[in-house]
């Protein structure tokens, strides 16, 4: 198998694997659906963290923004969930374009903290400020207002599962293309040597801006899917205290890689699923995991796997050369 085909097969392999798992363990369907949605969310953070080198302590706000734009659309304006997803994506693009220039300008810790503050404001907005529209902590319910979508009625959890797989597959393919294109290289280069990029004539500001928009869109997309899957939203989704989770998941999978977010999501949610049978709060676990990953295992699951693969391929080539 050549390297090219092997790479083309991976997105199908991974989504296929999830679908297979769903049939092997039918009781775990909700869990697998969540893995797919969480992967999208982690992918967004991975663009910021892994590719551009920004740490955001406010990612939940973008997730929540997607969820609430879909929910508000479905609860008050329309009934088609697919349109709601589109609304959330447009919202992501809009927020990315508008907020980008302000946030991207702030480097390093300023970016992190201003995002955290932004997240707090977002939480405050849905919890208190717009309580008339969002119903605050009671949550906004809209399940009964959704109409059936053509071909696949995604109101049914069974069908939603396949829909989520389809979205995941498409995003995998697009994400891989981004990584292999000039854009992916440019993202990483702005992190490594911004000056040099500028000398080469790249507008690094625009590159980072675009990265920010993509990250935001992935988060709002994930948020809208969460909303539709549950049939309601509440402010919990956008809590500040959950900001660390997505960073841990990114680190766990292997930051700055195409499939790292997928493995990060599986590992993180898997551990959480197992551990939550014994303890209800997992801050302790998240903290310990992060420190271990950061100091001992900083390539993450997928990063370590590809490293091993490269090494074994190299030794194979060497063996072939020496008769």
């Amino acid at each position: 198998m050549t390297k090219r085909t092997y790479e083309w097969i991976l997105p199908f392999l991974f989504t296929g694997g999830l679908i297979l798992t769903r049939y092997l363990f039918p009781a775990k369907m909700t869990f697998i659906t969540e893995v797919a949605l969480y992967t999208l969310y982690v992918m967004g953070n991975n663009i910021l963290f892994g590719y551009l080198g920004y740490v955001s302590f406010g990612q939940p706000v973008y997730l929540s923004m997607g969820a609430y734009s879909a929910a508000i659309y479905l609860a008050y304006l329309g009934r088609n969930p697919l349109t709601a997803i589109l609304v959330a994506i447009l919202m992501g693009i809009l927020v990315g374009i508008l907020m980008g220039p302000v946030l991207i300008r702030l480097r390093g810790s300023y970016f992190t903290l201003v995002n955290a503050a932004f997240c707090a404001i977002g939480l405050f907005t849905v919890e208190r400020l717009l309580i008339g529209i969002t119903r605050g902590n009671d949550g906004l319910w809209f399940r009964t207002r959704m109409v059936a979508t053509p071909l696949l009625d995604i109101r049914q959890p069974k069908n939603f599962f396949f829909f989520a797989m389809l979205v995941l597959l498409v995003i995998f393919i697009l994400y891989r293309r981004m990584d292999r294109s000039v854009l992916g290289a440019a993202f990483k280069a702005t992190q490594g040597n911004e000056r040099r990029m500028q000398f080469l004539g790249y507008d690094t500001f625009k590159i980072r801006w675009l990265g920010f928009v993509l990250a935001t869109v992935l988060s709002t997309l994930a948020g809208s899917l969460y909303a539709i899957n549950f049939g309601f939203v509440n402010p919990n989704l956008g809590e500040n205290s959950r900001a660390a989770e997505v960073i841990v998941a990114t680190l766990l999978g292997g930051s700055g890689t195409v499939y790292g977010p997928f493995f990060g999501a599986i590992t993180f949610l898997g551990i959480k699923e197992i551990v939550s049978q014994w303890i209800t709060r997992w801050e302790l676990l998240v903290g310990v995991l992060t420190i271990i990953v950061l100091f001992k295992f900083n390539r993450g699951v997928w990063g370590t796997f590809t490293d091993l693969l490269h090494r074994s391929r190299k030794t194979m080539l060497m063996q072939r050369k020496t008769p």
């Binding site: 702030l106 810790s109 400020l129 205290s241 903290g287 992060t290 420190i291 950061l294």
Partner: protein, 291 residues
């Protein structure tokens, strides 16, 4: 009139807490070039220890003392065992590391003290009267303690040789090392001091709030806002911005209650648009990750 006077005093006491807790962040940036998030853990622990000691011995001041000591001791452990490995690395390392320490601490707090918020009795219910306005003595005491701390810290920085080394280190760590000064010992000392003050902040705040496992989260945001508004790395900036934000929270909240929560952020955003390095920020430090 009476509303405004008490609003100003309440604001000052808020500023006092903000200042005590934010010092850890401010010197973390300024001297060590790290993001020191686990100061929020010492803040929470200070409050919880005060809760325990007030309920067992009835003495708030014993609680404050143990808050300071435990904060300082843990700060020593974390600095020497963990942070030594992240100095000089990309700032995201320290940010993620210290946040993890904070999360672990929250987990432990939940095991020890449980999930339910605890009320702490104020050490004194005496009310002072100024121009007919009743002001709780305890608030005035907090303001006094923070004021003394600020003056003490300033004297330490301007009068002692170690303090001067800290100021020199904030300006240029490499040059301090080139003189032959063990910068790591200076880091440890500063870190221990700042952690102790965060513990003190938590202890003093305990009677004013409900002591809960997530009290550090809210404080984290405000402390950050304080440090960013003041300018990363500037102690004077932290002081001034704590003064401003205390009033924004208190007076803003008197005008329209949601302002007490979002007011500080709006002030910060507005200032950042015009001054991306904050009020007293040093230009180089803003672009933190590249050192």
């Amino acid at each position: 009139m009476s509303v405004w006077l008490s609003a100003v005093v309440y604001g000052l006491s808020t500023s006092a807490i903000l200042f005590l807790v934010s010092i850890a962040l401010s010197v973390g940036y300024g001297l060590m070039r790290i993001v020191n998030l686990e100061a929020m853990l010492y803040y929470s622990l200070g409050a919880y220890l005060t809760y325990t000691l007030v309920s067992s011995t009835g003495s708030m001041w014993l609680g404050a003392l143990s808050g300071v000591l435990v904060g300082a001791a843990l700060g020593f452990l974390v600095e020497t065992q963990l942070l030594r490995r992240v100095y000089g690395k990309n700032m995201l390392f320290s940010m993620v590391t210290t946040f993890s320490v904070y999360l672990i601490g929250i987990g432990l707090i939940q095991y020890i003290w449980g999930l339910n918020p605890k009320p702490v009795a104020s050490p004194t219910d005496t009310m002072l009267r100024f121009w007919g306005v009743a002001i709780p003595l305890y608030r005035v005491m907090i303001i006094g303690i923070a004021g003394i701390t600020y003056i003490g810290f300033q004297l330490f920085l301007t009068r002692t040789i170690v303090g001067k080394a800290i100021r020199a280190g904030i300006e240029n760590r490499d040059h301090v090392q080139s003189l032959g000064i063990n910068i790591y010992r200076i880091f440890t000392l500063t870190f221990v001091l700042a952690s102790g003050l965060a513990g003190l902040g938590g202890a003093l705040n305990a009677p004013l709030i409900m002591v809960g496992p997530y009290m550090g989260n809210d404080m984290l945001l405000y402390a950050f806002t304080t440090v960013i508004l003041g300018g990363l790395g500037s102690l004077k900036g932290t002081f001034v911005s704590a003064l401003i934000l205390g009033q924004v929270i208190s007076i803003g909240g008197t005008i329209w209650s949601p302002l007490s929560f979002v007011g500080p952020f709006f002030v910060m955003f507005t200032v950042l648009i015009f001054k991306p390095n904050g009020l007293f920020g040093v230009k180089g430090i803003a672009f933190g990750f590249d050192q």
